[in-house]
């Protein structure tokens, strides 16, 4: 039952995305322009700088791409969804959808970084995995916060204000984890940090599913 609802909602989101292609390509252009500007300002970056720039770019891309997940829905449409589905299914569909979208964006960002800013990494595979994990973490945080911002009838800037302090430690962990993929830096307690990140993700998903029904009711 839940699965049917989630797939139906996902299909609906994909359809909307397809019909409003300009927003998708808009975000892509945003990514490309950001990386290009970094390239113009800094040229080929050294490893540690590359790492920092990558995660900052990810953050801004996440805010731009995920923000619309709830903010694009109108009040009336929420009321319609309310009559046909459960809040958990709705939230889950939104989470899966924004994670998917963010994964695509992360990979595009990573590719552009390699092309325009050089590739100072030793372990490309691990970094790609970390980029995917980081994209997932960022998108689930911002999906829930965009639900809050949408319900508060506010814009994406409120979402960013609410989100920055929460994602700051996530970005810190990610950039530390990523150090392992560069030259010969030894990162103490790598697996510990990795587990903390995974647990944080699970916690945020759990909280989103528990708390969203309260936001949903008018």
């Amino acid at each position: 039952m839940m699965l049917v609802a989630v797939t139906a909602l996902l299909k609906k989101d994909l359809l909307i995305e397809w019909r409003k292609k300009h927003t998708f390509f808009g975000v892509m252009l945003y990514v490309a322009a950001t990386v290009f500007v970094i390239n113009l300002m800094n040229g080929q970056a050294e490893a540690s700088m590359w790492n920092v720039l990558f995660w900052i770019t990810q953050l801004f891309v996440a805010i731009n791409s995920v923000a619309k997940s709830f903010l694009q829905e109108s009040e009336e449409r929420f009321r319609y969804y309310y009559t046909i589905t459960t809040p958990q299914a709705f939230m889950l569909a939104k989470l899966i959808y924004s994670v998917g979208l963010q994964l695509i964006m992360s990979l595009i960002t990573l590719l552009l970084f390699h092309i325009l800013l050089g590739s100072p990494l030793e372990n490309n595979l691990l970094f790609t995995a970390l980029a995917a994990l980081g994209g997932t973490s960022l998108s689930i945080v911002f999906t829930f916060l965009s639900a809050i911002a949408a319900k508060a009838q506010q814009n994406a800037s409120l979402m960013a204000i609410l989100g920055f302090p929460i994602v700051a430690p996530i970005l810190l962990i990610l950039s530390r984890l990523a150090l392992k993929t560069m030259n010969t830096v030894v990162v103490n307690g790598w697996w510990g940090l990795f587990m903390v990140l995974i647990l944080l993700n699970i916690l945020i998903i759990g909280l989103s599913l528990i708390l969203f029904p309260f936001l949903w009711k008018e």
């Binding site: 829930f144 809050i148 319900k151 508060a152 009838q153 506010q154 409120l158 204000i161 609410l162 920055f164 302090p165 929460i166 700051a168 430690p169 962990i173 307690g189 510990g192 940090l193 903390v196 647990l199 944080l200 916690l203 945020i204 909280l207 708390l211 309260f214 936001l215 009711k217």
Partner: protein, 221 residues
């Protein structure tokens, strides 16, 4: 005047802390010297802040399960006073760090964790003040309070322990427990924590009572 026993206790304990915190004997240690007395003022601020946020968290849950606006106002009052205590804790900590670490801000993980915590709760104020409708504001702030508090716990308890800290008791620095004269300090430290916390709770309740008066005035007249 509703003067309950715990309010009296808070007055007594805070004055006890103020007097004996400055006059009592403390172990003389290198670098720390007399700044060790900050233990009575700085550390209780954190305990107090966390307890006040925990109260706010509990009231937020009660609000969501009952939809009673009283709990929302209580939760907000505790959060706001908690923010005041976090600022006090930060200021006393930075003052102390100026004399012991040589600079007020040194990116210590605990400092960072707390700064992020403060940002999260400042964002709460922005969120809460941005919503006009009472019921919607109550609901959204309760949801955000629960979200923020649940994420704050790993933030300030787990993360700093994963990286070295300059704080006493971390990263090879001796903690206060290591000193033999500690018992004498403990006699002041524990009452200090209780006293400051009760004071914080008292202020929060006063805040709540003025808020509920405003609220009633707005709707009953």
């Amino acid at each position: 005047m509703r003067l309950r026993w715990w309010k009296l206790l808070s007055i007594v304990l805070v004055f006890y802390t103020l007097y004996f915190g400055l006059m009592g004997e403390v172990p003389s240690k290198d670098i720390l010297n007399e700044t060790i007395r900050n233990l009575y003022y700085h550390v209780p601020m954190w305990f107090c802040m966390i307890l006040l946020f925990a109260y706010a968290f509990a009231y937020a849950i009660r609000y969501l399960s009952s939809n009673n606006i009283q709990y929302d106002l209580k939760s907000a009052a505790f959060n706001k006073v908690g923010i005041v205590f976090s600022v006090l804790g930060m200021v006393t900590g930075m003052e102390w760090a100026t004399y012991t670490w040589g600079e007020p801000w040194s990116n210590d993980p605990k400092q960072l964790g707390t700064a992020l915590c403060m940002l999260i709760y400042f964002a709460y104020l922005v969120l809460r003040n941005g919503i006009k409708d009472d019921e919607k504001r109550a609901k959204i702030s309760a949801v955000y309070t629960i979200f923020a508090f649940s994420l704050m716990i790993p933030l300030i308890f787990v993360l700093p322990r994963m990286v070295d800290s300059l704080h006493p008791g971390n990263g090879g620095n001796p903690g206060f427990n290591a000193y033999d004269l500690d018992n004498r300090m403990r006699m002041i430290f524990y009452p200090a924590v209780i006293g400051w916390f009760l004071l914080g709770k008292w202020i929060s309740e006063l805040k709540y009572r003025t808020d509920i008066l405003h609220y009633k005035k707005l709707y009953n007249e």
